[in-house]
């Protein structure tokens, strides 16, 4: 039983081992310019072979079928192969999908194969292959004018295809277009391809310039220009000759590629870089030109800001003029007259601003500055335009615009004639350090004084009223005043006897009136002495007083000397002052 089982097992294995269907590739990794051979091999005859659709590849040759059958020592072996030659169309990882075949009613499939396609590789030399001889005699070269330019410095890339005299080129197709990432590029059209003669690696070659490109690096650092790959149809000489002995040409196509180029872009120096640097690199002339400077209001004026010269003209913005707000400035019209030969952009770019002044007056357009990096001297250069003064000769006045717009033309006409006034010819110069009146002491004094006057006035009026009301007091005061008056009169009349004594007597009487408040009619010696005694006067003084009064009457008519008069006066003064003290 066990033996049967093993036998059965073995026979099954033989059946499984019998059918094989697989795909084999010549290499897993290849360059873009290399070919790949893929074989689909089976060890039994099958029908309905379906190849995969070789995505990303171009079938160069195939399918070619190959069948071999052999008997060795009575054992037969069978082998059938479908072969394809493939050319990768793109870089990257490509997958060749499954192929299928029907063998005796059973469908077999191959497993998918991953292929890595790298950039074009240089192919090793094989002397006898005609392909190799095309490699030898066909070269694509990228010529770069400068590999370490400044930012925005133009460089040129010229693609030339060199081919030796013994091959011919009939056509080409671009496979990989070069990409200029981080570059501003401008292709220079080549109208007609002309074969020229030149040297390549010291050998004589013919060459055709395929492409010319001007590049402006837009980023500093290491930038890579992706290579250009071409599929070129070539005519190669073969080893065979025709009956006339001429070499027979073989048509073939060949892939060439210019290697990737690295460009090391230098950043513009930071030292001395002005703040308003707009990125212009090259050599420029800067101009600001107004179409006119004397205009009427409402007329327009063109202000042209232009830069001409060589450099990255299309890659920077022009400075914007600064004008007073009273000038209406519209958005500029930008115009470029730039041609791009291989040496870089040259020409002129300009911004034209339409300016319409609204009101009369003088308006300055500020000086404008334009800075560029000069590649010759490797330094920043600044060009400053002069200040432009716009004179608006006629028109409404800015401040009176509301009036100017009214239909009252007469009024507007008067106002529009408002002129810039001439200087003033007369002045009164005053000191700068003038103290304020308000807040000064004088101010407070003058303000408060009238108010202070009010109580004073009230007080004085009250006092006057009081004085007016006191009749007796007033009499005393009057007598007192008269006494003093007569006494002084007496002193004056001291030479004349009669008036002296009259005055002296009056003085004495008035003194009495003032002091003891009696009338002249009441005056008698007795009454006087009585009242005076009441008032606690000294009796001696009283008698002296009475004596002197009597004496006055006598002395008026009696002869007396001037010494006696003087004595009497002194006496009177002494008595009066004495009584003044004594009387209460």
């Amino acid at each position: 039983m066990k033996r049967y089982l093993i036998l059965l097992f073995l026979s099954f294995q033989a059946i499984i081992a019998q059918v094989q269907f697989e795909a084999k590739v010549s290499k897993q990794t290849l360059g873009l310019n290399e070919r790949l051979r893929i074989d689909f091999t089976m060890n039994d005859d099958g029908d309905n072979f379906t190849p995969p659709n070789f995505e990303g590849f171009k079938v160069v040759a195939g399918p070619s079928q190959q069948v071999s059958q052999s008997w060795i020592n009575g054992r037969s072996s069978f082998n059938k192969t479908y072969s394809y030659f493939l050319l990768p169309m793109q870089k990257g990882t490509l997958v060749i999908r499954q192929a299928s075949i029907d063998i005796r009613g059973q469908i077999y499939k191959t497993s998918p194969i991953k292929i890595t396609v790298t950039a074009a590789v240089e192919q090793p030399r094989e002397p006898n292959d005609s392909q190799v001889s095309a490699d030898e005699s066909l070269h694509l070269v990228a010529e770069i004018s400068k590999t370490n330019p400044y930012l925005n410095e133009p460089i040129t890339v010229v693609y030339k295809i060199y081919f030796s005299y013994n091959i011919g080129i009939t056509n080409w197709r671009e496979l990989d277009k070069p990409k200029y990432n981080d570059f501003w590029s401008q292709n220079i059209d080549i109208k007609q391809l002309v074969a020229e003669e030149g040297r390549y690696n010291g050998e004589k070659y013919r060459f055709v310039t395929l492409r010319k490109t001007v590049l402006y690096p837009q980023k500093s650092g290491k930038l890579v220009i992706e290579p250009l790959s071409l599929d070129v149809d070539v005519q190669l000489p073969s080893n065979r000759r025709n009956i006339f002995g001429q070499v027979l040409l073989v048509e073939d196509h060949k892939r060439v590629s210019a290697g990737a180029k690295t460009i090391n872009v230098k950043a513009l120096p930071e030292a001395g870089k002005p703040a308003d640097f707009s990125g212009a690199v090259g050599r420029f002339a800067f101009k600001v030109t107004p179409s006119k400077t004397n205009i009427k209001s409402g007329e327009s004026l063109d202000l042209e800001v232009s830069v001409s010269g060589t450099g990255n003209l299309k890659l920077f913005t022009l400075p914007k003029p600064i004008v007073p707000t009273a000038l209406e400035m519209y958005d500029p019209v930008h115009s470029e007259q730039v041609s791009t030969p291989l040496s870089g952009m040259t020409g002129r770019i300009s911004d034209k601003y339409a300016i319409i002044p609204q009101y009369k007056g003088k308006y300055p357009i500020k000086p404008m500055t334009f800075t560029y990096f000069d590649l010759g001297s490797k330094s920043y250069k600044t060009v400053t335009s002069p200040e432009i003064m716009i004179n608006v000769l006629e028109g409404p006045n800015a401040a009176d615009n509301s009036v100017a717009t009214t239909s009252d033309t007469k009024k507007a006409a008067v106002l529009s004639s408002a002129q810039f006034k001439f200087i003033k010819l007369k002045t009164d110069l005053i000191s700068m350090k003038q103290s304020d009146f308000y807040g000064s002491t004088l101010f407070y004094l003058l303000t408060l004084l009238p108010f202070l006057c009010i109580p004073i006035i009230v007080f004085f009026k009250k006092k006057k009223e009081a004085i007016d009301g006191d009749v007796a007091g007033n009499k005393i005061k009057l007598s007192n005043k008269l006494a003093k008056k007569y006494l002084s009169e007496a002193q004056k009349e001291i030479g004349n006897k009669e008036p002296f004594y009259i005055a002296l007597e009056k003085a004495m009487h008035n003194f009495l009136k003032a002091k003891i408040n009696i009338e002249t009619s009441e005056m008698s010696k007795e009454k006087i002495s009585e009242i005076l005694l009441e008032r606690k006067a000294n009796p001696e003084s009283i008698t002296a007083f009475i004596n002197l009064t009597e004496n006055c009457e006598f002395a008026r008519y009696a002869p007396s000397t001037s010494t006696a008069i003087q004595q009497d006066y002194d006496k009177a003064v002494a008595i009066i002052s004495e009584l003044e003290k004594q009387i209460v």
Binding site: P324, A326, G361, M389, L429, Y438, T447, P450, C453
Partner: protein, 247 residues
């Protein structure tokens, strides 16, 4: 004889004092504006001033197309003589030279009415009016106090109250006007272009840009920064060096 000598002395003094002004006028007439400025400024350095002097200086700067000094001097002249039509006229001409056009936002409301009223006189004039009114008050009091007729006594009494009221009004006007004068700190931007910051720091963000000749009002001062307000109500901080105060 002595009086004559005094008069002569005084007049010669005035003549001497105005020499710079006269010289400046002559130079201006000849079109030598820069020299005229130097002549006028001798008066300023002697601490003399007048509205006319500032006006003429403004004219010189205008002729030289110097925006900020021109506007500055006209504004100075207007501070001394606010109602002069010629100064206002030439200031408008000078303002056309400036880049910024800042709208004036009219103030409205009760405050504005008060301001307009107190603005009719300078605070010194208000001071004078106060003094005059207090004297009138005294006269009314005297009239009331000494008047014998009842009707006139009543009239004087009533008049006293009216005058007292007017006096209070004029005093408060003077205080208000003085306050207003002290708070009102105009300045002129002298830098060609200056960025007004949102904070008084060098690195802070720009609120807006101002060009020379623009009039600003200083609200506050911190170190060498001034908080300014424009006539349209915008506010920001500006460095001291960029502006020149009018007062």
């Amino acid at each position: 004889m002595k009086n004559l000598l005094y008069i002569l002395l005084l007049t010669s003094h005035i003549f001497f004092a105005q020499k710079g002004f006269e010289n400046g006028n002559a130079l201006y007439q000849k079109g030598k504006y820069q020299e005229a400025i130097t002549a006028y400024e001798t008066e300023l350095s002697a601490n003399k001033q007048s509205a006319e002097l500032y006006f003429n200086l403004g004219n010189c700067y205008y002729k030289l197309n110097k925006v900020a000094p021109s506007i500055y001097n006209y504004e100075k002249a207007l501070l001394l003589n606010p109602d002069d039509i010629e100064i206002q006229n030439n200031l408008k001409f000078a303002q056309k030279l400036q880049i910024d056009d800042i709208k004036t936002v009219e103030k409205v409301g009760f405050n504005k009415v008060i301001q307009d009223f107190t603005n009719t006189f300078h605070y010194n004039t208000w001071g004078g009016i106060t003094v005059g009114l207090s004297i009138v008050f005294l006269l009314f009091f005297v009239g009331y106090y000494f008047s014998e007729i009842t009707v006139s006594k009543r009239l004087f009494f009533l008049g006293m109250f009216v005058v007292m009221l007017l006096l209070l009004v004029s005093v408060s006007s003077a205080i208000f006007e003085k306050n207003q004068f002290n708070n009102d700190q105009p300045a002129i931007v002298f830098s060609e272009v200056v960025s007004v910051k949102s904070e008084p720091k060098v690195g802070s963000s720009d609120a807006f840009m101002l060009h020379e000749g623009t009039k600003v009002y200083i609200l506050e001062t911190l170190d060498n920064w001034n908080k300014i307000q424009l006539t349209d109500g915008n506010e920001g901080w500006i460095e001291n060096s960029a502006i020149k105060r009018l007062k």
